[in-house]
């Protein structure tokens, strides 16, 4: 399912064309709703894609919250990149990143 959503992300990126990219454009919004899940996308200028899958029963999540979650994810991701022991493309093992993600998920559950 994440793979299908990646296809949708690519579609949206190519549709954007030469639009000026700022924080709002990075956020792709609700990709497509399915029966059980909602999928949100976010792409960076370096073409790194973040995909968030949310259970549909969690109706309390508002657009702003999703945006801020992506922003936090992006910030933590840049911190991980700055770790000289991290090779881009590897699976992320950073404890700081993991604890940020876990605390974010706990907040919304």
């Amino acid at each position: 399912m994440v793979h299908t959503s990646l296809d949708v992300v690519d579609e949206k990126i190519s549709a954007m064309g030469k639009a000026l990219v700022d924080q709002r454009e990075l956020y792709l919004g609700l990709l497509y709703p399915t029966e059980d899940y909602k999928v949100y996308g976010y792409v960076t200028n370096s073409k790194v894609k973040f995909v968030m899958v949310v259970d549909s029963s969690n109706t309390a999540l508002r657009d702003n919250e999703i945006r801020s979650m992506f922003r936090k994810l992006h910030n933590s991701y840049t911190d991980v990149m700055c770790n000289p022991f991290y090779n881009p493309g590897d699976r992320i093992h950073s404890r700081a990143f993991d604890s940020m993600v876990t605390s974010m998920m706990i907040q919304v559950c």
Binding site: C82, N83, P84, F85, R95
Partner: protein
């Protein structure tokens, strides 16, 4: 100058050393050697810019290191604690270490002393002012400690005037 560029440069240096040398101990030794070579040169710059006079005892030296040298080169002011009863050992406590911003030590490098360059610099610089010292890390935030602590021990005053060799 951006501190991020400095941090990333140091990080690239350490990871390259890790790739070149198989084990952490060798990397630690290399960092110490490199630090030593930096220290013997840096001391001239420091003395010229800071204009501090000759220190009369080790306590003065400690103060100058923490309040002038660290501030000048790394922008931080470590605190000095844990003086030994004989007055020949003290600890530098660094609340934050700019060399290690964003760094997380992977598990396969658990005995790496990431900031060992600093120990070499301190040793090299003090040797050029006729003080033989030993510097080592006893606490490191990268290893889970709350602060970074460098223990400095005065060994002896260097009396002979042979020029310090490069290692």
């Amino acid at each position: 100058m951006s501190s991020e560029l400095f941090t990333l440069t140091y990080g690239a240096l350490v990871t390259q050393l890790c790739k070149d040398y198989e084990n952490d101990e060798d990397v630690n030794k290399q960092l110490d050697k490199m630090g030593y070579n930096i220290g013997v040169r840096l001391i001239e710059d420091f003395l010229a810019r800071s204009n501090v006079g000759r220190c009369h005892d080790f306590r003065e030296t400690a103060d100058v290191i923490a309040k002038v040298a660290f501030k000048m080169y790394l922008g931080i002011t470590p605190s000095i604690t844990n003086w030994s009863p004989a007055g020949d050992e003290f600890s530098l406590i660094l609340e934050n270490n700019p060399l290690v911003d964003f760094v997380e030590l992977p598990d396969n490098h658990s005995s790496l002393i990431y900031s060992n360059l600093l120990c070499g610099v301190l040793r090299g610089a003090l040797e050029m002012v006729q003080m033989a010292v030993e510097a080592r890390f006893v606490q490191d935030t990268l290893k889970g400690d709350g602060v970074t602590e460098i223990r400095m021990r005065f060994i002896r005053r260097i009396e002979d005037n042979l020029p310090a060799g490069e290692e």
